[in-house]
Amino acid sequence: MRSLLMTAALVNAALLAPPVLAQDAATLVEGVLAQHVLPGFQTFATRTEALTAAAQSDCQPQSAELRAAFHEGFDAWMAVSHLRFGPSEVDERAFALAFWPDTKGFTPKSLTKFITTEDPVIAEPEAFGEVSIAARGFFAMEYLLYDDTIATLGDAQYHCALVQAVAADIDRQAQAILADWQGGYATSMQTPSDAAEYATDLAAVAQLFKALDTGLQFNEEARLGRPLGSFEKPRPRRAEARRSGRSLRNITVSLTALEELSQALAAQTPGVAERLEAAFAVAFEQAEVLAEDPVFAGVAEMQGRFKVEILQQYIGNIRDIVTQELGPALDVTAGFNALDGD
């Protein structure tokens, strides 16, 4: 229903509200890259290096240092995971870092197969980079460290080597993404030309805007929608990263990053920036209310469910401001059919 109303509202916005003021698109792109994108990927690469080191020094699933490094690395990924274009899309890097949702259970299946057959491919970083993306990244690591079955499955030495291989692979992806951003992709977004990926400054703004909207949508529909399920059929076990207790944390870290991006994009429209800040603040307050239920186990009962639904609604409100106010202000709204996406 909301999407129906929103579509109608968007069409109105597109028809009635031409850009309020001429946005300096090039300055916006420069700001987003300098304040949000590049520091985010820099932090991510630093944290994954630390994760690899932690796995090398202690690969036991219970290791406090290793678990802490896992959480730090995962946080850093959450802060950039919405920037799913360019370097993140090369060789499926983003999916190799985070294969979720895993609706058909590929991650536990692949890991179980590795462990029970003691597949030697894990000894070769290059070769491991070619294996199914479901057996790589933070969700594979989460199973190896926290899943009741897989954390203790098979030969301890092989399990250890697999933890180290997954950590090293995460770091390889992170370094490759950072190298691509620093080695030309950031420049390509700032120097548009007809023959290049970005023909205009506005095309680069549109890409960043889309990352913001899709990031919000993913929190609303997947990270919250998946465990909520329906009223008749709540699905608490489908909460993202529930094994490591990170379901809510993923959302708050992601929202923090998305707010930073939204503020950078709204830098030239103070009114929109203010309304976005207020809408994010309301969502963060609701996330605090949920702190006692970090994996959304409460979606199965009335009271707990209500709290999660409210957070979902608040994220929806942020999206409404993004699509109905920020989009038209940036001149990146699309037509009736172009928006439909079907």
Partner: protein, 356 residues
């Protein structure tokens, strides 16, 4: 086409049908959903000259419709993940029947009638299993659900009755979604679209897939010619700069052919083909991209590009004689030779051929 319609209208008249034939609503060539200036969504009949022959109200924004082969009766589907469809008498908008998707199913927005108009086939999602389903409905029993079978893949979208009248072709888009998660795509890294040919009983007759390098090229919409040529339009889910061709042609028993203007020109489609059509004579094929505001036309035999035409928010397209009619979100009905008419209607998604 007229001859066939007259023939079918004659058949309908002789078989005690409650509704009248398409001539009773001005003999439209196409159906299309649209949004009126006051926000009301309607289903309209449209001729090849751009005239609107009727409009009837829809309860909400729809996706595609299915036109009964001989009666002026249309099935309008809700946008995915909708669970309802309405059967409308096109003369006055009377709701003749309502289709409700069974538990754990939702419609994708397309459907096809059997040649005799006695069965309706609908593309659906078995969302707990993440598998595509074709629902079967008994038209004469008031659109009663009488069965279903596997679509041959995940995320079936467009579905058409093949010219032999005995088989269906289904565009399995490959993308898994779940209504609890809106339109969030759940399986992009492992998606595998396909073009499936099915018997009317659900036997998989032929399954066509593209090489793995194109596994993110979601096969969504279909157009047919009487010789069995199937044109399929795709939506690329990977990085835009890697976008492969978005139009394919297929004939049963042969490998698919992909059609491209040039890599640079294809990029202007923005990885998104909204609709596809073959010209009336089957010699040309066209795709539209509302996101690129562009229409590409190719020669079917040679596969060579013959026209690149710009039209803001273009999406619906249908074949007429040697050419095409297209519609836009700005209300335009046009051909490659120029505008026909502009209506105070935002034309939605698709032109559905009537009795073609």
């Amino acid at each position: 086409m007229t001859t066939r319609r007259r023939l079918l209208a004659g058949l309908a008249a002789s078989s005690l049908m409650p509704s009248l034939g398409w001539s009773s609503v001005g003999t439209p060539d196409f159906l299309s959903a649209a949004r009126r200036a006051d926000g009301q969504f309607v289903l309209a009949g449209l001729t090849r000259r751009g005239d609107v022959t009727f409009t009837i109200a829809l309860p909400a924004r729809g996706h595609a419709a299915a036109a009964h082969p001989d009666r002026a009766e249309a099935v309008a589907f809700a946008r995915r993940p909708g669970t309802f469809a309405v059967v409308l008498d096109c003369r006055d908008g009377t709701v003749l029947a309502r289709l409700t998707a069974p538990a754990e199913r939702h419609f994708y927005g397309h459907g096809a009638f059997s040649a005799d108009g006695k069965r309706l086939y609908t593309s659906e999602n078995d969302y707990e299993a993440g598998l595509g389903i074709i629902g079967v409905w008994d038209v004469e029993a008031g659109y009663r659900r009488i069965g279903e079978f596997a679509s041959g893949g995940v995320g079936p979208h467009d579905i058409k009755l093949m010219p032999d009248g005995r088989s269906l072709v289904v565009a399995n888009g490959g993308i898994e979604t779940h209504p609890d998660m809106g339109r969030t795509k759940l399986n992009l890294p492992v998606m595998q679209p396909s073009l499936s040919y099915l018997s009317l009983d659900g036997d998989l007759l032929e399954d066509v897939t593209l090489p793995w390098a194109q596994h993110k090229n979601s096969i969504r919409h279909l157009a047919l010619h009487t010789d069995g040529t199937v044109a399929f339009a795709m939506q690329w889910q990977g990085a835009l700069k890697d976008s492969p061709p978005l139009l394919g042609l297929h004939q049963r028993g042969t490998p698919p052919r992909l059609l491209s203007v040039s890599q640079d020109s294809d990029r202007r489609l923005n990885g998104y083909a909204g609709s596809v059509s073959l010209s009336g004579d089957g010699a040309q094929v066209a795709i539209t991209s509302p996101r690129g505001g562009i229409l590409h036309v190719f020669d079917v035999t040679s596969g060579a590009a013959v026209a690149v035409h710009e039209a803001t928010d273009v999406c619906g397209i249908g074949g007429v004689g040697q050419g095409f009619v297209y519609t836009t979100g700005g209300g335009l009905v046009g051909t490659l030779n120029g505008a026909l008419q502009r209506h105070d209607l935002q034309w939605d998604n698709h032109l559905i051929a009537v009795s073609a």
